[in-house]
C-alpha cells in the first residue's frame, strides 16, 4: 500500500519559489497498476521520485506499507529502496562497468542475499537473455538493456515496481516486449506497479490513471476497460 497525504514539492529557482507539485493525496492498494500521465513538466517524475524516497517533499507524508519515509535518513531510505522498490528508468541506467548478469546481482549483493547467483540467472532467463549475461550494457540493444533493467528491478522481489517512461526510449516493437514484461510483473507476480508514461498503449494496461497538469492532479479515473495482453 502506497499512501500520499498532502504531498507537495517546491523548489527555489532564480525567479523565486516554484511549486512543481501542489498538495496531492492518493492511495495505491497493494497489487494495483497505476499510470501517471501528463505533458512534460507536469510533475510526473517528481511524484515518482517522491514515492521512491529519491527526493524529499516540501510538505505532507508518504507511507509505504505503513512506514513513514519522509522522516528517514539517506542510508535508511537506501535500504528501504533495496528491499521494497524495484526501479525501471527511461534511460535504463545499467552500470556500464558491469555485465548484464552482474547488474542483476548487484541489488542482492547490496541487500546481503546469500548466494544470489542462481536467482540472477533465473531472472536473466525470465527476460529472455540467458545467453547475453556476460555482455556489457554497451554491447546490448536498447530493448535488451531495458529487459536487464526489469530483471534487476525484480532481483530482491520487491513489492513495488516503479517505472519512469520505460518505453520512452524504445521503438514500438521493443517497447511491446517491455510492456509485456511489466504486465507480467503486475498480474502474474502481483507486484504494485507505478508507471510514468506518455505511451497510451502502456497507460491502457493500468488499473487506474492519474493525470497531472502543472503540478496538480487533474483527473483520476479507474480503467474499466483494462487492456488485455
Amino acid at each position: 500500500m502506497i499512501e500520499l497525504t498532502d504531498v507537495s514539492r517546491t523548489v527555489t529557482s532564480g525567479a523565486g519559489p516554484l511549486t512543481i507539485l501542489h498538495p496531492t493525496s492518493f492511495q495505491i492498494p497493494r497489487g494495483q497498476a497505476v499510470a501517471i500521465t501528463g505533458p512534460s513538466g507536469s510533475g510526473k517524475s517528481t511524484l515518482l521520485g517522491l514515492i521512491a524516497g529519491l527526493d524529499a517533499p516540501s510538505s505532507g507524508s508518504i507511507r509505504l506499507d505503513g512506514v513513514e519515509i519522509t522522516t528517514l535518513g539517506e542510508d535508511r531510505l537506501a535500504r528501504l529502496r533495496g528491499e521494497k522498490i524495484g526501479f525501471v528508468f527511461q534511460f535504463f541506467h545499467l552500470l556500464p562497468s558491469l555485465t548484464a548478469y552482474e547488474n542483476i546481482l548487484v541489488p542482492m549483493e547490496i541487500a546481503g542475499v546469500a548466494s544470489p547467483q542462481h536467482r540472477a540467472k533465473t531472472l536473466l532467463g525470465s527476460v529472455g537473455l540467458s545467453d547475453r549475461g556476460h555482455h556489457y550494457p554497451s554491447q546490448l540493444s536498447g530493448g535488451e538493456q531495458q529487459r536487464v533493467a526489469i530483471a534487476r528491478a525484480l532481483a530482491n522481489d520487491p513489492p513495488i515496481v516503479l517505472a519512469d517512461e520505460p518505453t520512452g526510449n524504445l521503438d514500438t516493437a521493443t517497447g511491446r516486449q517491455v510492456i509485456d514484461l511489466l504486465v507480467e510483473v503486475n498480474r502474474q507476480r502481483g507486484r504494485t506497479l507505478v508507471l510514468v508514461t506518455h505511451d497510451i498503449e502502456l497507460a491502457a494496461l493500468a488499473d487506474e490513471i492519474i493525470a497531472l497538469r502543472d503540478g496538480r492532479v487533474v483527473e483520476r479515473r479507474l480503467n474499466q476497460r483494462r487492456a488485455a495482453v
Binding site: 515518482l48 529519491l54 529502496r81
Partner: protein, 852 residues
C-alpha cells in the same frame, strides 16, 4: 564488505585504461621518492663521513690553553652523564723543524706539530707511503710521521733523524694523504708532523704562554650528540673553550651540507605532491564519470558508506599496486645510474635502501589516498533523484560542514607528511602554506580569468569566441588545469629556482677568488720585494694584509670600564688574542652600522692627550662586550701598548668570510707603523702545481725567512665536497623536472574526457577538424599561460621565503628560468591538449554521442 570488494574489482576491471594514469602517477611519485631517498641516503653517508673526517671525531672540545684542574673536572662531570664510546687527545702547535748537523739540506722549516694519543684518528685516514697502515706504534717513543714534500725540502728520507724543540725524532713513515681535520676551519701553518703526545708534552713547547690547541676528541652515540654538545657549550660558556661536532660544523662547509640535505628532502616531498596532483586530477575525472553509476547504486539500496567504500578500496588497491611498481622502477633506475656518476659521490654502486622503499610506499599510499579523497567525498552528495532527469550531470552545490571538515583534515595530514618528509617543521610549514596559498590564488585566478577574458568572447574569430566561452562554462576544466598545472609549475620552478640559488651560493663561496698560496712572515720592508717576485707568476695581483696579534689590556668606556689586564680577564669577554689589521677602506662583506669609517691614513702624530689611533669594531663586540663609539681600547701588541678610540661599528657578512673578518681594524698611521707586525700575502697561481713550485723556488732564494702555505689541498677538499653536493642537487633537479612534466602531461590529458562530447557536437554541427583543433589549442594555451604565470609567481615567492628563512642564503631571482617556465608551460599545455584530443578530432562524432 564482500559487496564493496567485488564492486571495487569490477569497477577496476572496466575502467583500467583510464585508471592506468592514476597508477602511473603513483608509480612515478613513489619511484622518485625512493630514488631520491636512496641517493640522498647514500650521499648523506658520504657527506657525514666527510664531515666527521673534517672534525676528526663526533665531538671536539678544544682549548687554546692547557687544561686546568678546573676545566678537566668540569669536562669529566659533563661526560659522566653520557655514554662515551671512545676518547683520545691531541695537541697541535707550531715549531721549527731542523735536520741533524751535517744531514740533508741543513734547512730549518716552520712546521705544524701534532701530538697524538693512542686511539687517534677516529675518522678520516692518514695514508702512508708504501701502503703502510697507520698505528700509534709508529709515533710512540720518539717516532715521527712527516709529509713527503717536507722530506724533499729538507733532503731527508725515512729512517733519518729530525730535530724538534731540541729533541731528536726518527722518521718512521711518510704521509702521502692526510684526511684528518684538514680544512676544517683551521689553516695549517706548514707541513704537518705527527709525534706521540707523550713526547710532545716532554718538550718545552707547551710551556706558559705558548700557542697550542689542546683537543679532546670524543666518539659518542649519535643520539647523544646534540645534547652533549649543548651541555658542554653551556658548561664552558665563560672559558676560551670551543666545542664542535661534525653535525654542528659551523664553518661554511658544514652549513652547505645541511642546506643540501634539507633541499634534497624537500624535493622528495615536492615530487610526491606532484604525483598527488595527478592522482587528484584522475580521481576527479573518474568521479565525474561515475556520477550516474553512483546514483544507480544508491537507487538500488547502497548506502553512501558502501559506495564511498567501493571507490576508496579501488583507489587504495591501485595506490598499493602503483607504489609497488614505483619501487620496482626505482630499483631499476638506481641500478642504471652509471658508475661514473657515482664515483665522485664516493660510492661504488648504489641500490635502493629498505627504509627508502618503505618510506616511498607509505608516502605514496598516504598522499594518493588523501588527494583522491577530496574528489571522492563528492560521492556522498550525489542524489539518486538525478536519474529521473534527462541531464545526469552533477552540479556541485555549496560545500557542507562535513566537506570542509574533511578538507581541513586532509590539509593537516598532508602538512604532517610534508613535515615528516622535509625532516623539519619549518620546511614542512613553508611548503604546506605555500601550497595552500597558491591553491587559493589559483582558485581565485580561475574566476578572474573567466571574467578578464570575457570581452574576447565578442571576437570575430569563431575558434577564439568559443574557446573563451568554454573557459567560463560551468563544470569545465578551467579550474582543474589551473590547479594541476599551476601547482605543478609552481613546484617544479620553485625547485629549479632554489637549485639555481644554491649552486650560485656555493659558487660564490668557492669562486675564482680563492688564493691557493699564503705567504706568512713577510716583513713590512719586504712587501714590495716579495710582490715583485710573485706578481709575474700569479694569475691575479697578490694581496698583502698587515697582521698583528694583540690582547686587550684596558677598556675605558661608558658601559664598560676595565682598568688593567686582570680586570679584562675577570670580565671574560675580551680575553682571547685577536688578530688585528689596518687598512683605509671597507671590504666587500662589510658595512658601517654607526659612526664613520675613516678615509685615508691618519696624518702625522695625534695631539697630546688624544689616543694614538682609531679603531673600527664589529657589532658583536659592541653587543657582547658593551663597547660603544667613542670608547677607548688599549691593546698590547707584541709588548707595545696602543690606545685607540672606537670611531665606527661594522657589520660583517660572515657567510662571505672570503674577504676576511677582523673584529678590530685600525686606521693606518704613524702608530700602526710602529707596533710590531708582519704581512700575510695571498697569491693565486691558477691551481697549477708547476707554477707554484717555480714561484716558491724564486721566493725561497730571495726571501728565505718568508714561509708559504699551500692551501690548494684544503681548497680541493672543500671543492670536492661541494662538487658532490652540486652533482646530487643537479640529478635531483633533473628527476623532478622529468617526473613533474610526465605527471602534468597526464593530468592535462585526463581532462579530454570532458571535452569529448562538446567536440562531437561541434563536429556534428559542421565544424571542421581544423576549427575544433584551433579552439582546443586556444583554450588550453590560454590556461597554460595563466597557470604558468601563477606558478612562476608562486615559485618566486617560495624560493625567496625558503632562501631567506630556511637556508639563510642570498636570494637571486631567476628571471630567465621563470619566463622560460611560463612559455614552456603554455606551449606544452596547448600541445598536450591537442594531442590528447586527437582521437576526438579524428573519430566519427556519432560514436561519442551514442556512448554519452
Amino acid at each position: 564488505m564482500g559487496f564493496v570488494l567485488r564492486m571495487a574489482w569490477r569497477e577496476t576491471r572496466a575502467t583500467w585504461a583510464r585508471l592506468l594514469f592514476f597508477f602511473v602517477c603513483v608509480a612515478i611519485g613513489v619511484a622518485a621518492i625512493v630514488v631520491l631517498r636512496s641517493v640522498v641516503q647514500n650521499v648523506r653517508a658520504t657527506l657525514t663521513r666527510e664531515a666527521r673526517s673534517l672534525v676528526g671525531a663526533d665531538l671536539v672540545v678544544q682549548s687554546n690553553r692547557p687544561w686546568t684542574a678546573d676545566t678537566r673536572s668540569r669536562l669529566e662531570s659533563v661526560l659522566a652523564a653520557f655514554r662515551v664510546l671512545g676518547r683520545t687527545e691531541l695537541v697541535e702547535t707550531q715549531t721549527m723543524a731542523a735536520t741533524l748537523p751535517g744531514q740533508g739540506t741543513g734547512k730549518v722549516r716552520l712546521v705544524e706539530l701534532r701530538g697524538v694519543a693512542p686511539g687517534f684518528p677516529f675518522y678520516g685516514s692518514i695514508e702512508l707511503q708504501g701502503g703502510q697502515p697507520y698505528s700509534h706504534d709508529l709515533v710512540a717513543r720518539h717516532g715521527a710521521l712527516v709529509p713527503a714534500e717536507f722530506l724533499a725540502e729538507l733532503g731527508l728520507q725515512a729512517g733519518d733523524e729530525l730535530r724538534l724543540a731540541g729533541q731528536s725524532f726518527t722518521i718512521r713513515g711518510v704521509v702521502v694523504k692526510d684526511r684528518v681535520q684538514r680544512g676544517g676551519g683551521t689553516i695549517a701553518f706548514g707541513p704537518r708532523i705527527y709525534i706521540d703526545l707523550v713526547d710532545l708534552r716532554a718538550t718545552s713547547l707547551l710551556g706558559f704562554g705558548s700557542r697550542a690547541a689542546h683537543q679532546v676528541l670524543l666518539r659518542v652515540d649519535e643520539r647523544d650528540l646534540d645534547a652533549l654538545t649543548g651541555q658542554l657549550r653551556r658548561s664552558f660558556e665563560r672559558d676560551v673553550v670551543t666545542v664542535r661536532s661534525w653535525r654542528t660544523l659551523e664553518d661554511r662547509l658544514g652549513r652547505n651540507l645541511t642546506i643540501a640535505e634539507n633541499y634534497l628532502s624537500l624535493v622528495g616531498f615536492a615530487i610526491v605532491v606532484l604525483g598527488g596532483i595527478g592522482v587528484w586530477s584522475v580521481t576527479r575525472v573518474v568521479v565525474q564519470q561515475k556520477i550516474r553509476s553512483v546514483a544507480v547504486l544508491k537507487c538500488l539500496g547502497a548506502s553512501s558508506r558502501q559506495v564511498l567504500g567501493t571507490y576508496l578500496t579501488q583507489v587504495t588497491g591501485l595506490s598499493a599496486a602503483g607504489s609497488a611498481l614505483g619501487v620496482a622502477i626505482a630499483a631499476l633506475a638506481v641500478a642504471a645510474i652509471p658508475a661514473s656518476l657515482l664515483e665522485p659521490l664516493g660510492i661504488k654502486s648504489a641500490s635502493i635502501t629498505v627504509s627508502a622503499a618503505l618510506q616511498g610506499v607509505v608516502v605514496g599510499l598516504l598522499v594518493s589516498v588523501l588527494f583522491a579523497l577530496v574528489p571522492l567525498l563528492e560521492v556522498r552528495r550525489i542524489k539518486p533523484i538525478l536519474l529521473l532527469r534527462a541531464d545526469t550531470r552533477f552540479t556541485a552545490r555549496r560545500r557542507d560542514w562535513q566537506s570542509w571538515l574533511a578538507g581541513g583534515a586532509i590539509g593537516v595530514l598532508l602538512a604532517a607528511v610534508a613535515i615528516w618528509q622535509a625532516g623539519s617543521l619549518l620546511a614542512g610549514v613553508f611548503v604546506s602554506v605555500g601550497f595552500a596559498v597558491i591553491a587559493g590564488v589559483l582558485a581565485l585566478a580561475s574566476r578572474l580569468l573567466v571574467r578578464a577574458t570575457a570581452p574576447l568572447a565578442r571576437s570575430s574569430k569563431f575558434a577564439v569566441r568559443h574557446a573563451i566561452v568554454s573557459l567560463g562554462r560551468p563544470g569545465n576544466q578551467t579550474r582543474v588545469i589551473l590547479m594541476a598545472v599551476g601547482l605543478g609549475c609552481f613546484f617544479i620552478l620553485a625547485v629549479r629556482a632554489l637549485q639555481a640559488n644554491l649552486l650560485e651560493e656555493f659558487d660564490a663561496q668557492l669562486g675564482g677568488r680563492s688564493p691557493d698560496l699564503i705567504l706568512i712572515d713577510v716583513q713590512p720592508d719586504q712587501v714590495d720585494g716579495v710582490r715583485a717576485v710573485v706578481a709575474p707568476r700569479a694569475t691575479e695581483p697578490p694581496r698583502f694584509l698587515p697582521l698583528m696579534r694583540a690582547r686587550i689590556v684596558a677598556v675605558s668606556g661608558r658601559r664598560t670600564r676595565l682598568e688593567n689586564a686582570e680586570a679584562v680577564r675577570a670580565h671574560g669577554r675580551l680575553t682571547r688574542e685577536y688578530g688585528l689589521t689596518y687598512r683605509d677602506g671597507l671590504q666587500d662583506n662589510e658595512r658601517i652600522l654607526s659612526g664613520q669609517f675613516w678615509s685615508g691614513p691618519a696624518a702625522g702624530e695625534p695631539a697630546r692627550g688624544e689616543p694614538q689611533a682609531e679603531v673600527s669594531i664589529v657589532e658583536e663586540v659592541q653587543r657582547d662586550a658593551q663597547i660603544d663609539l667613542g670608547d677607548l681600547i688599549r691593546f698590547d701588541i707584541g709588548g707595545q701598548l696602543l690606545e685607540a678610540r672606537v670611531t665606527s661599528v661594522r657589520k660583517i657578512a660572515w657567510d662571505d668570510a672570503q674577504n676576511g673578518g677582523f673584529y678590530f681594524v685600525l686606521r693606518p698611521g704613524a702608530a700602526t707603523e710602529r707596533v710590531p707586525h708582519t704581512f700575510v700575502g695571498f697569491v693565486e697561481t691558477g691551481g697549477n702545481p708547476a707554477v707554484r713550485g717555480a714561484l716558491l723556488r724564486d721566493l725561497v732564494t730571495a726571501y728565505p725567512n718568508v714561509s708559504s702555505i699551500d692551501v690548494s689541498a684544503i681548497l680541493d677538499s672543500i671543492r670536492h665536497v661541494v662538487d658532490n653536493v652540486t652533482l646530487g642537487i643537479t640529478i635531483v633537479g633533473a628527476v623532478t623536472l622529468l617526473g613533474g612534466m610526465l605527471i602534468l602531461v597526464g593530468a592535462v590529458a585526463m581532462t579530454k574526457f570532458q571535452r569529448l562530447y562538446e567536440a562531437a557536437i561541434y563536429r556534428t554541427l559542421g565544424a571542421s577538424t581544423r576549427l575544433v583543433a584551433t579552439m582546443v589549442a586556444v583554450e588550453y594555451g590560454m590556461l597554460g599561460l595563466l597557470a604558468g604565470v601563477l606558478g612562476a609567481a608562486g615559485a618566486l615567492g617560495l624560493s625567496w621565503a625558503l632562501a631567506r628563512w630556511l637556508f639563510e642564503i642570498d636570494w637571486r631571482p631567476a628571471p630567465g628560468l621563470l619566463s622560460a617556465g611560463v612559455v614552456v608551460t603554455a606551449i606544452t599545455v596547448a600541445i598536450v591538449g591537442l594531442i590528447s584530443s586527437a582521437d576526438v578530432l579524428i573519430r566519427k562524432p556519432l560514436g561519442t554521442l551514442r556512448s554519452e
